[in-house]
């Protein structure tokens, strides 16, 4: 029969012993023949002898972290009558090396619970992240006690912090485990909770059930549409993958190898000159906008001055040589279009950048709290040797890729949905009103812009029904406001700031549009 092992971990004075005593008192050991309690730490709170005797528990002090091996645990269970082991683990011992050891025999780790005092949590989280991470990341539950003083917002923040370390770790606020019956269920003997029916399974079953009764006549239309969506989704994705990987590597190198001071010096010397530099820097990154977005998020995480980065981002498409070339080929004998495309892009970018600088928006304020390669900085001890550095960069790039690719997949999916259904709709709203034309093109920029290079050709197909300045605003604003780029950026930037940035860009775009109307 299986031997359940529960691990309760947490730092000194976190209330582990109290927690374990409450657990035992609530009867979790009652159904086992005999239990062992491995004590790795002597706290202030102690286990009274008669309490242990009453619950048939053998207390075993452990001095050395290395002594808890698979063999040791096996021997313990074989020595007689023990089919449950509770480990009060020492919070300063390495959890990773404990988990790295192979368990033998019938032993299995059932639950790991991290116990923390509410007041101490934040200081541990920020000061001892390296030590804390393996403990919390491997836990099923984080139990927070003495939480009376916490407000609702503080609780949510703490929950999010735990989620950042491991998205599936749950957080409970408990002074006594007996308060929460659902929490206690994970300690029910001989039961594998994960095997019970989950909401996800029910959902899947009902979807399958509905599919059985679907009218088949409509299916071919549905199949056609999904096929179309699938093809455009995959094409956006395949096209973006090389750039995302490139961006991931660049951003990893940027964060691990290049010192912050170097880039900061390049960008923030003389503020006005640096805007020009940021505006023109895109010329040297002749990649698609979807490849640039991960790079931008990397730069932002590095806490570089925001206005310049935003300027660089917005202007990159305008000065990108490949884009200029594509405009040239889409409008072969109208040189003014090319010039207008470049200039209006730079004007909007610098305008938005300057406004951000005048408003004194700092990078820290607009960056999402959970952004940043937190895993990278603490988990990766790397020396000066080249191979170590290379390994660190590869690992960083891999983490970065997984972070960003999720957003790209979502963005590409939404984009492909829009692209399949919107073009017909947009044609319905064609109007000669110049104001309306601008707004239609603005909407098209958000939802129909695929890539800064193909924008010129898509724009060309609008030309005829729309005036030149309107088409131009589609080409210019497309890469700036494109839905999937926004989603990628939302990985680092706060929602509030993204909305502000989009509004700002649209207003700047509108101003430029009016000016262009007068000139052209």
């Amino acid at each position: 029969m299986a031997v359940d092992i529960d691990v309760v971990t947490g730092f000194l004075e976190s209330g582990k012993t109290t927690f374990i005593k409450q657990m035992i008192a609530s009867g979790i050991t009652a159904e086992y023949e005999g239990s062992a309690l491995l004590l790795c730490e002597e706290g202030e709170e102690e286990y009274e002898e008669d309490f242990l005797k009453r619950h048939n528990i053998t207390l075993i002090p452990v001095e050395e972290p290395d002594s808890i091996t698979g063999d040791y645990l096996k021997r313990l269970t074989e020595s007689g009558g023990i089919d449950y082991i509770m480990i009060e683990y020492n919070g300063t011992w390495d959890m990773q090396s404990f988990l790295n050891r192979k368990l033998v025999g019938e032993c299995r780790i059932r639950n790991i619970v991290f116990v923390s005092e509410a007041a101490a949590f934040n200081s541990y989280y920020s000061n001892m992240a390296g030590l804390l991470r393996p403990h919390m990341g491997n836990s099923d539950y984080v139990v927070v006690n003495r939480y009376q003083d916490m407000g609702k917002a503080e609780k949510t923040e703490l929950r999010n912090k735990v989620k950042r370390v491991n998205p599936v770790t749950k957080t409970v606020f408990l002074n006594d485990p007996a308060e929460d019956k659902r929490f206690l269920r994970i300690f029910t003997p001989f039961e594998d909770l994960k095997k019970t029916v989950t909401p996800g399974m029910i959902l899947l079953m009902s979807v399958l059930l509905v599919l059985c009764f679907l009218p088949t006549a409509y299916l071919s239309v549905l199949y056609d549409y999904t096929r179309k969506i699938s093809v455009s989704f995959l094409s956006i994705l395949i096209q973006a993958v090389p750039f995302i990987l490139l961006g991931a590597f660049l951003s990893s190198i940027l964060q691990l190898i290049i010192p912050v001071s170097f880039i900061t010096r390049q960008l923030s010397g003389n503020s006005w000159k640096s805007f020009l530099a940021a505006g023109l820097a895109g010329f040297f990154f002749p990649v698609c906008d979807c490849g640039l977005a991960p790079l931008i998020s990397g730069l932002l995480k590095k806490n570089l001055p925001l206005p310049q980065i935003i300027t660089f981002w917005l202007a990159s498409a305008a000065v990108n040589p490949v884009v200029i070339l594509s405009v040239y080929y889409a409008f072969p004998d109208n040189r003014k279009v090319i010039l207008a495309r470049i200039l209006s892009g730079i004007v909007i970018a610098v305008l938005v950048g300057c406004i951000l600088m005048l408003l004194k928006v700092r990078t820290k304020e607009v960056i999402r709290q959970d952004a940043g390669l937190t895993f990278m900085s603490v988990d990766m001890v790397y020396g000066d040797s080249r191979t170590r550095k290379a390994a660190a960069v590869i690992k960083g790039a891999q983490l970065e890729f997984f972070r960003v690719f999720k957003y790209v997949i979502i963005g590409a999916f939404v984009s492909s949905l829009c692209l399949t259904f919107l073009p017909q709709t947009i044609k319905l709203f064609i109007s000669t009103n110049t104001l309306l034309q601008f707004f239609i093109m603005l909407a098209a920029a958000v939802f129909m812009s695929t890539c800064s290079t193909s924008n010129a050709f898509i724009g060309r197909s609008f030309y005829g029904q729309f005036t030149l300045p309107a088409v131009l605003s589609f080409m210019v604003l497309g890469p700036m406001l494109d839905f999937k780029n926004i989603i990628i950026l939302s990985e680092v930037l706060t929602k509030k700031f993204i909305i502000q940035l989009c509004l700002l860009t649209s207003v700047a775009g509108f101003l430029t549009y009016t000016v262009v109307m007068f000139i052209l």
Binding site: V231, L234, S326, I458, G464
Partner: protein
């Protein structure tokens, strides 16, 4: 059994490894089978090879982590990375275009001839409704502007405005005297045809095309064209030239033909577009690459 599931195996790394390898193999398969060109322009080829290699490097770097123990690893969040592969499996037949068919717009705003602005508005038969009149006058202005610019530019040399004859680029001749447009040339030729119709008028061309149909054409007309990709499948569009042929009704949609015809002029919804006259049509096999790609040259 359940025991293994709940042991301290690092399931998360296994899942990641699987994801990365699956994505890399997917890319390699698409590249080797040539299917990738149904999704993206061939110029992305090297980038996609790089991506596949980078993903294999990731996989290699993860092997060392397999031994690390792990408890309570969430696997569901990795499912989203497999969505592209799932879709590729579910919808393997990606050939045959997307059904979006169009006749090109001239980049000069719907009028492709070097005519006088005044002349144009007089002749413009499409100026029936208010909206077309408006757009006509707007485009008229812009054409005039661009003409001013070109004449400004050439003032230094003192010569008159002589535009290069765009049709001179295409020199491959077939046996019966028509000019052969290869697949590589098609997209460039097609768009230039609409922009500089004057240069091409009266010349005879031969090319491989697909049959597109449109409700807005006459009974004895069809569109001879190709699916053109500029960046990826999202901008894939079947572009065709209106072709006069008595065979029209017998041709099937998307059928492959070799068409030879003389460029003429046709008034389509108020704009002058090229027309393929005296067309000779013969059936042919589908080419190796179904789509044509727009190259910047």
């Amino acid at each position: 059994m359940a025991i293994n599931m709940r042991g301290n195996k690092n399931l998360e790394i296994y899942m990641k490894l699987f994801t990365v390898i699956a994505l890399a193999l997917f890319l390699v398969y698409e590249l080797l089978s040539g299917k990738v060109y149904y999704y993206v322009h061939p110029r992305y080829k090297y980038g996609i090879w790089f991506a596949a290699i980078a993903l294999f490097v990731f996989a290699f770097s993860m092997i060392g982590e397999l031994k690390k123990g792990r408890h309570n690893s969430g696997l569901k969040r990795y499912l989203i990375y497999l969505l592209p592969i799932l879709l590729a499996f579910l919808f393997p037949d990606i050939e045959g275009g997307n059904g979006n068919v169009a006749i090109a717009q001239s980049s000069r705003g719907g009028n492709s001839l070097y005519e006088n602005t005044v002349d144009k508005t007089d002749n413009d038969p499409g100026a029936v409704s208010d909206s077309t009149q408006d757009s006509g006058s707007i485009t008229g202005d812009s054409t005039q502007d661009s003409e001013n610019i070109t004449s400004d530019g050439t003032d230094d040399t003192g010569g008159a405005v002589i535009e290069k004859d765009r049709s001179l680029k295409y020199k491959n001749k077939t046996s019966d005297g028509a000019i052969l447009i290869t697949d590589d040339e098609f997209s460039c030729w097609y768009f230039e045809l609409f922009d500089y119709l004057k240069d091409f008028k009266g010349k005879r061309y031969q090319f491989t095309a697909q049959v597109f149909t449109s409700d807005e054409l006459k009974a004895d007309q069809f569109l001879a064209g190709r699916y053109i990709m500029t960046c990826c499948a999202v901008d894939l569009m079947g572009y065709g030239i209106i072709t006069d042929s008595t065979l029209s009704s017998k041709l099937k949609e998307n059928e492959w033909i070799t068409v030879t015809g003389t460029i003429g002029e046709y008034n389509y919804k108020g704009t002058k577009v090229p027309l393929l006259k005296d067309a000779v049509i013969s059936k042919t096999k589908a080419p190796k690459e179904e789509y044509v790609y727009y190259y910047y040259y």
